[in-house]
Amino acid sequence: MIHFFAEWKKIHRRKLWLLYVVAILIILLWNTATLLRNPFSEQETLTGYNYLILSLSLVNQMFLPVILAACASRICDIEAKGDTWKLLFTMQSRSSLFKNKIFINVTYILAMNLIQYTFVLVIGQIIHVTQPVPWSSLNFMFLGFFCIDTALYILQQSLSLLMKNPLMPLFIGLFGTFIGIFTAFFPDLPLRFLFPWGYYITLCPVNLHYDKASETALYYLIDLPWPWLAILMVFGIAVYLTGKHLFLKKEV
């Protein structure tokens, strides 16, 4: 527990929280602005929650991989900059350092996901969505976001701790964002299942049918994609174990 609090102490003045605040503000403002620009018709309020869930997944897909890369870089580069490894590892184990950095960020991730969850409920009330709250889909969205964010964060942290060039993990995060968006454009191809960055869409419990003739979009709930969530979790665990193993072996 001491080392967990020590991690908090270390990020004092690093404004790690600011990155998460910026991320959540972008996500919420983006969605709010879209709703203000194109208010729901009476017909659309019948599937209002479905729209909100899909819209949040898309905006998360666009911003979070790179924001998580920046967060990982910010919390890891304080060690590289001050060459602290030789001091730290005489006072704590490497695995505790690896774990506690994850715990700190998971706290922020959890807070960010809870805000999004609340946002759907609150905005649904404000714009008078008539659809009953699809609790299981909404809960799955929350769980999905949490798992993707955590898995991607672990991946980025592992890269930031292991790579000498601090810019490289950021490029990988940026590349991941593009890959994620790119794969979302090809719903019929299995590409989005292959890349973890594309899982914001893969795990979205809502699908969209666009009718060209009437120029209307239908947002409908689908079966919860539990198998893909399980695959993502396996990926997250594998990245955690591999990252930790390589970090334990890293020469200082």
Binding site: I2, H3, F5, A6, K9, K10, H12, R13, R14, I78, K81, G82, D83, T84, W85, K86, L87, L88, F89, T90, M91, Q92, S93, E251, V252
Partner: protein, 304 residues
Amino acid sequence: MTYAIETSGLTKSYQKTLCVNHIHLKVPFQSIYGFLGPNGAGKSTTMKMLLGLVKPTQGSVSILGKPLNSRNRLSILKSTGSLIESPSYYAHLTGRENLALVCMMKNVPESDIDRVLAIVRMEKQQNKKAGHYSLGMKQRLGLAAALIGQPDLLLLDEPTNGLDPAGIQEMRELICSLPEKYGITVMVSSHLLSEIQQMTTHTGIIHKGSLIFQGTMEELKKHSQRQLKLKTDNNPAALHLLESMGLTCQSQEGYLLLPETNDRNTAQLAAYLVENKVGLLRLEEKEKSLEEIFLSLTGRQVSL
């Protein structure tokens, strides 16, 4: 006898390169042990192995009388402080905040910060961000961090690197005072013989990964082979005469060097030269300097 640090056959190799070769270190309690060697000799790797930062390929380490292993490493290291290669610090935190972090991780009350700040004389700079410190200040901060929790053993790897002459002198005085004032055993590495000579009570010399000497400074000086050094008005004739007496001698920079002999033989030798009309201009006893001893131990090609 137990030692503050004792290693047995400590070895580290990277692929096929042997960095540290079967080292048997013995650092007595409350000594200042100078670990001397040219750059790349294996000093830092050895010190990292002593702290468990690098896994030895072979051999064992005992710290403060306890064998070091992966299970007890952190509990043993609680009684140690270290400064390896360069000082560790968080640039965005102040000096005091950096030390508070070390206190927290070592489970030491924060009141210890004022004590260590006074020792390294940086009370006035404690509230500046560590990133804005000069290298000398960072080095002091690193030493202060190493002193948190009143360790019994301090490992300092080239602690005067990057310091100005005044800083070097200050650091030297500080290190020298630690065993007496606080009962701390200090192991300090350096590639500078003069530094080791002025600070330490015991010395270990490492060269190409092997420990080629270990003992007190007096024992190191015993390696000095005394010689007779003489200058005559006709060195070639003197050389011929001395060789005819069965003495091995060599000519060097206008002098003739002979193995040390007793007073009677020296008197006879001088008389013999004079009898054969070779004027004796100078006759002195030559003792090898520490630098020469070091060079003769490590090989002349090594520069310090």
